[in-house]
Symmetry: C2
Subunit: 491 residues, 2 copies
């Protein structure tokens, strides 16, 4: 198998695909737009999922599971929602196949047509709020703080592994509250959880902000988001948290009696992140040799490769490695010993570079004599010879150092790629030549936003939270503006 | 909310539904045959899933994720498989909705018809073996030991919460091997993992066996199963492990070059358990007051209820409970303090009996003075007053004791309900009056098996592993038989 990777400079998009496929994260499947998440990619996703799940539970949320199917009529109940999702959904119309009487294999049984078509969930607000109707009567039943880990389907025409697939895995939180204030607080709290997760676990700095009306979730009153920057200067929306107002409560008639015994509509939020984050992770950190994974979520944090000739050397090395492994494991470090004798050390080195394992230890017979080991870190490719004594403590600190270094590097890149623009020429030039976020004045109208998008493919990624208020003139229309917003081309 | 439960004696089936719904494990949904798994039920499933997942990983398996959709033509590739699954599947025929030009809301866009229909996976052998084709070239690529946690859909006509739903959650292991021996060994190993899990975590004894040809998985050469017994004397298949021979490798042309560089078809297994296990758990252990959950998987193992008048008593109790809680948590025990002042202690007692929490501690002001606490165990409903000193150690042992006692009770029931029958009259009488497994001779033909099923609704649950060989006469046909098999009516 050829493990050569297209360089970022020659074709960024192909580089990304090479990494995902040759790094064994995912593969295309026989079903258009659907991917297979391979064991290595899934182990990465599991680590991300488990960390997030713990954060959700620590903030008082519980998991539940709602149906895959949504009756077609449910989608229509919230006007904006159906506009946003009806165009790209998988529709189940029949519930049986039968043998073709003409011998053509199996065919859809025309007699097994559903009375009402079922949509594969593109998101679950409608089926969940239809359920909440039965769960909420009194203020005592509130809040509901429920999350679901699930697969969803959006029939995208142009797909890319992890970044945009017809089926993807995600979590969707759906909460119900007695007051607007509490729902807004929840929306912001979960945005904070996402930002913390992406920054601390994925080593990826984000900007927290609010979407403009035209970029809002279909059915939301406000969409909060975290925006990350990829190495090609394009932005990527890494998570969203929506304040849904009473829209879904009204659509599904979900009321509660308050402390004064009066009926009120319930307030809602929803928030989600998906396997798209894996794509962001790959794009943000990796290099032309392969993946670079942050230690906190890497499937293996350390790989140990023996270098030996003959059984005697091998068994001496094995003995030492066994000690190191058991110490590392006791520290909670995920370590793999690759003593597969079908492959040479050099091949293995390249393989684990490709796979982004943060730390590699290579131990040879001569190293053992000298009581040392070669330690290579993936992010900087620096190699050092380190005494075997205290090696596990060294590795433990090194993993922390790598995690920090990866974040710092990405943070520096982000900071260097938030550029103010004050004229349209400057704006266009920055987009084409530098990329990243461009901080510019905007007149606040959808028309201008749309025109800018049409002319440059740049969208308003967000209005940063706690944005500085500053009068100015819209970059495009010249009309008055009260603050800068962040534009970028985006995935 | 009325929390009254139908008794087992008056209506076993309604009792089960009451437990699931009033115990807040699951609910019906707006989609026919699909359930909502409520937070309490999902927490139980998570504990089961996590324990199983760990056992899979400890036996060398890794997780991955394959598409929800299966192209219709894939189902036809394995002849027996399509017969078994085509009859009950959800079929996606379109990928878009549009606004009805006549104003009737959204309708399926007839222009968005798929060229080939997609089936929602009822099980994933076909899509997975189509993928394995690309992953396997040489013996060095084998074995593949892959598991997937997923939702699947089988369009059942008669559904029951957890036991039989159109959509359910499960895991499906799909392994690929170089030799038949290795595949058979894997099939048996995973059956063992299931039996260990169900017995040790769910406190539910099972019988390990092999299915007859007519009860085999569609596409398998051999289906191994574990069979459990419910309190109404009906059996429930709790898990299956299939030796698939080379059937799917042949259907999808998956070959590998062996050490002699010759091409051979790959050998396969698949194995699965589902949310059906939650139904088995409920039916096997619970009583007329509610659920009885085994400590190892109960969402809460201990609940603490304060009994007090006024803030002063409350704050004294709070202080003591805080100590106990932190000790229990440090021991890894899942504990909940219910100091909600909207409900009285008596209501809470009934509520946690309903929910099957294994141990309840009730602490009143007078108890505090005497340095004691009332400990109630859910399984036997025994109450004891225990000194506060050493209470956490007491609770820890009590949880172990309950787990064992629940298993022993179920084991005794199982042993008392395996009854030999030597005449047809005896067989019918046992089925109607006693239930359970009936150990009887069978002539080995499908015809007899079918006739017995037609006349009595009893099926052959399994031919137990390491079954005693014993000549006799078939209970129905009188023909010669070489061993007894286990019959039962089943869920």
């Amino acid at each position: 198998m050829s493990k050569e990777i297209t360089s970022r400079a020659s074709d960024y998009s192909q580089w990304y695909n090479d990494l995902v496929i040759k790094g064994e994260l995912a593969d295309h499947s026989a079903v258009r737009g659907c991917m297979v998440i391979k064991p290595y990619g899934f182990a990465l996703w599991e680590n991300m999922r488990d960390a997030l799940d713990k954060m959700f539970k620590d903030t008082g949320h519980v998991n539940a599971y709602f149906p895959l199917f949504i009756p077609k009529s449910f989608l229509s109940k919230e006007a904006a929602h159906v506009e946003g999702f009806a165009k790209e959904c998988a529709v189940v119309t029949h519930y049986r196949l039968k043998n073709d009487p003409n011998g053509g294999g199996v065919i859809v049984d025309p007699e097994a047509k559903l009375e009402e078509e079922l949509i594969i969930r593109p998101t679950s607000e409608t089926i969940i709020w239809n359920t909440y109707k039965d769960w909420v009567q009194s203020y005592r039943d509130l809040p509901l703080l429920i999350n679901q880990w699930a697969n969803v389907v959006r029939w995208e025409m142009r797909t890319r592994l992890f970044l945009r697939t017809a089926e993807f895995l995600w979590q969707e939180g759906h909460t119900a509250h007695a007051t607007k204030e509490e729902a807004v607080e929840e929306t912001e709290k979960m945005l904070g959880v996402y930002a913390t997760f992406v920054e601390e676990f994925m080593a990826l700095p984000v900007i927290k902000g609010v979407k403009t009306a035209s970029e809002r979730f279909a059915g939301a009153e406000d969409t909060y988001c975290i925006e990350a920057l990829m190495q090609d200067g394009k932005a990527l929306q890494a998570g969203t948290s929506h304040f849904l107002g009473q829209n879904f409560a009204k659509a599904f008639d979900v009321k509660f009696s308050n402390k004064e015994n009066q009926l009120e509509y319930v307030w809602a939020t929803s928030w989600g992140v998906s396997t798209r984050l894996v794509g962001a992770l790959v794009m943000a950190h990796s290099d032309d040799q392969g993946l670079i994974l942050p230690p906190k979520i890497a499937p293996f944090q350390v790989v140990i490769v023996p270098i030996y000739k003959g059984d005697e050397q091998k068994s001496m090395i094995d003995g030492k490695v066994k000690e190191i492994m058991s110490e590392l494991k006791a520290m909670g470090i995920r370590v793999k010993y690759d003593d597969n004798d079908n492959a040479r050390p050099g091949w293995k080195f390249a393989e684990y570079e490709m796979k982004g394992v943060p730390v590699r230890l290579a131990i040879g017979a001569r190293d053992l004599e000298k009581n040392v080991v070669e330690v290579a870190r993936r992010d900087t490719k620096e190699k050092r010879v380190i005494p075997l004594e205290g090696i596990t403590g060294y590795v433990e600190s090194l993993l922390v150092e790598i995690q920090t270094a990866m974040f710092d590097k990405a943070k520096l890149y982000q900071q260097e790629h938030i550029t103010p623009a004050d004229t349209w020429e400057e704006f266009e030039k920055l987009l084409d030549e530098k990329g990243g976020f461009i901080s510019a004045h905007w007149d606040g109208t959808m028309e201008t936003e749309e025109m800018i998008k049409e002319k440059t493919k740049a969208t308003i990624r967000c209005i940063p939270l706690e944005n500085k208020q500053e009068t100015g003139q819209c970059i495009y229309s010249g009309k008055a503006s009260k603050e800068r917003v962040l534009f970028a081309r985006a995935y």
